[in-house]
Amino acid sequence: MSVTTSGDSLFDRLEPLLTQVSKPIQYVGGELNARTKDWDSARVRWALMYPDAYEVGLPNQGVQILYEVLNERADALAERTYAVWPDLEKLLRENGLPQFTVDGHRPIGAFDVFGISFSTELGYTNMLTALDLAGIPLHAADRDDSHPIVLAGGHAAFNPEPIADFVDAAVLGDGEQIVGAITDVIAAFKAEGSPGGRDELLTRLAETGGVYVPRFYDVEYFPAGDEGGAAAGQLASVRPNRDRVPARISKHTVMDLDAWPYPKTPLVPLAESVHERMSVEIFRGCTRGCRFCQAGMITRPVRERSIEGIGAMVEAGLNATGFEEVGLLSLSSADHSEIGPLAKQLADRYADSRVSLSLPSTRVDAFNIDLANEFSRNGRRSGLTFAPEGGSERLRRVINKMVSHQDLINTVTAAYSQGWRQVKLYFMCGLPTETDEDVLEIATMAQDVIRAGRQATGSRDIKATVSIGGFVPKPHTPFQWAAQAAPEVIDDRLRKLRAAINSEKSLGRNIGMRYHDGQPSLIEGLLSRGDRRVGAVIEQVWRDGARFDGWSEHFSYARWIAAAETALTPVGVSIDFFTTRERFADEVLPWDHLDSGLDKQWLWDDWQDALTGYEQDDCRWTPCFDCGVCPTMGTDIQIGPTGKTLLPLVSTGTPKAPWAVSTSVEP
């Protein structure tokens, strides 16, 4: 495929293809609040990709924030691109057209930076499709000065080693400020006439200490097989191979969320998307300390947006979008120090409108029900979701998510008696130390929930849904050393659980059970904790046709297993080496040189505490337990309460609607 470097719009050539594909609206851009800046006005041009289908990628907050932050700069522009479905991929190839942005329909190859946000590792194959369609060599080593810098971000970028061959660079943590710093470096470099080419630009980015350039680090392994002894096949070292780059690369942390009220004007798609609502992030980070949760570990410390800041964002966002629903997002929204007043005041403010508020509810306590009631004053009380995560109390101590059986029963009793019709319970299967008995307790819990609901309401029409995901150990968590459960183990436990739920027919028929089989989790595990040798697996499986691996109708376990055998056998390791093998205490982990702030010794101690069922408190309410993040990153917890209230809405003076002055109001 030819490399295109001009920023001219390709729309005229794309248009005839769009009549031949499904849901063409996803490729035309023009969403409310989208921006298309003049190509020549910007010195540094970013193409931002969410590597999944438009309907999943468009609502992504990270991409929307960076899109807006970059476009606000006079010297930069940013356009968006998403994974194209196989029908359009085929037509693009047949017609010699490249991956394009939906804003200006410009070829990705013409941009300075191709930034890809990975919420999940299952987007890796879609990145390869986009690179290939764009005419950008798959391997970073094969690129020259004409190609964009391929930059990975998002939570999966905390271990970018499996995609180290394909990306030029990766950034860890919050993107708001680092995209500006990268833009500055590129702008200065271009202004100087690009001295030293691509290598020099990447070196300048790396020497900031906040951009990881994999090629500047050499990786060595212990020999595989008998020769390597107990450490066979393990990482031996990761070392910088030039002077100007740091030994470890730090994550980025935005302090003072009120200073970053993005997205100010959220994108409103014409096409249907997975979240038809506006989202406001009410805080970032979480110190609940759930040991399975990578997001909670890598986004520390907790930084709250103020009640005033949230009120202003909700109001501005609603005006800019026309959305009917506002989601108050964070990793555990009920933990905001002023969530009570916030919920009440927002519900009061929008009581006369048809705006509804939602809160991803995960905490199992009565307070959560009060909040949910506040948010559903006028609406239907359909379903409440709780996430005990582990089936037994013993297991919940292991994962540090302490909810007693009685807590849960009390909470759901309160929910049912206040008009909620359905309760959803989230669990994981395959957690460290888990036995069949732990999982079977989920059935007992669900049956007790139905009994409690029937008693509270006097009605037999009570429903509960049990939703179960396979646990995947993640880097930078206390479970990073854990052996992942094999798919057969998970599938077998879920089979037994289903039988247990149905053993009491009068209860079982009111309990729904949703789960995925264990196979995709194993592949996610390979990609999560893999090292650079896993890159060959990703390339192989992509060449064998893998696309959209997050979609069950596209995912092929057999294809992944075959690719893993082809690519890993020659280097003496296997998929089990990366997934079901427990790591050693002193083992070099592929992400050790990437600094999330968490002290490795603290993580290890917390792992040992997990195995003995010792619980760790939350440092928002108890003394610091030295996880390492704040001193390493120079950050601190930022929480209220501030004691303030929502700011009154400011009248703009002239009524917006022309009929507001009409006197002919009728009953």
Partner: protein, 256 residues
């Protein structure tokens, strides 16, 4: 169980109904009817139109849509009707909605139902004027169209979500004219007047019929636009569905 009743704003009976004419232009011709409906309902909120809502826990604004142009087909003549809880000046409604809708979804006219001809909006939608821009020689196109018109009926199949349906693409065609594209006589413009029947015969069905009777195959997918929609008179002219005076729509289409 505590039975809860909706406590939201009181249900207000509609006091006025307004019919809107809108266009789907440029790249937004790729939006589906569902896409349009979502965007339109959001625009009602952004423009603060005093809509009349249905009752219940999930009140919906009262909107009646009629036969939308297919996804990928542009239109200068789409129609819908909204019910208001307060009387408003139709032109103010038109301007306010047009200002908040994305460019390409354009509100062209707003008329109070009381000023429209009697009958429901759907009853007036008797025929459509379609324009197809074809990557095909005008003479070849004209010959194919002549063969189609000479046929009494031409059955074509279309894949719908309910499976393959068979329909007669010839019978509802009132007229079909071919002309060269202005400034490029290697391309043809086909203008069709097609009667509204069930199931609807759409431009791609006519193209399928042209392929069936004459092997007609343009080198690229055509660009199709609905120019007008409304009552059809004895002479085969499509007239304005919002206007009581007999105004041939051909003129309205040119004005667009």
């Amino acid at each position: 169980m505590a039975r809860r009743l909706p406590e939201g704003p009181a249900h207000v009976a509609p006091v006025q109904r307004i019919r809107l004419e809108y266009a789907k232009r440029g790249r937004l011709r790729f939006c589906s009817h569902r896409d349009f409906a979502r965007a339109f309902e959001r625009s009602l909120r952004r423009a603060e139109i005093p809509m009349s809502y249905s009752a219940g826990f999930h009140p919906h604004p009262k909107i009646s849509y009629v036969g939308a142009a297919p996804t990928g087909v542009g239109s200068e003549a789409e129609y819908l009707e909204i019910a208001l809880a307060r009387r408003c000046e139709p032109e103010a409604i038109r301007a306010a909605l047009d200002a908040v809708l994305p460019e390409g979804l354009d509100i062209l006219r707003a008329v109070d139902v009381e000023d429209c001809p009697p009958g429901s909006l759907a009853e007036h939608m008797q025929a459509s004027v379609w324009q197809l821009e074809l990557a095909a020689d005008p003479a070849v196109t004209a010959a194919a169209v002549a063969r189609l018109l000479a046929s009494e009926s031409v059955l074509v199949e279309r894949l719908t979500k309910d499976g393959v349906r068979s329909l007669d693409a010839r019978a509802p065609i009132v007229s079909a004219e071919v002309s060269p594209e202005p400034g490029n006589d290697t391309r043809a413009i086909l203008k069709l007047v097609v009667r509204q029947v069930t199931p609807t015969v759409r431009p791609d069905d006519v193209l399928t019929a042209l392929r069936a009777v004459a092997g007609f195959a343009p080198s690229q997918p055509p660009k199709a636009t609905r120019l007008a929609q409304g009552p059809v008179d004895d002479a085969g002219l499509v007239t304005d569905p919002l206007c009581t005076t007999e105004l041939p729509v051909a003129r309205a289409a040119i004005e667009h």
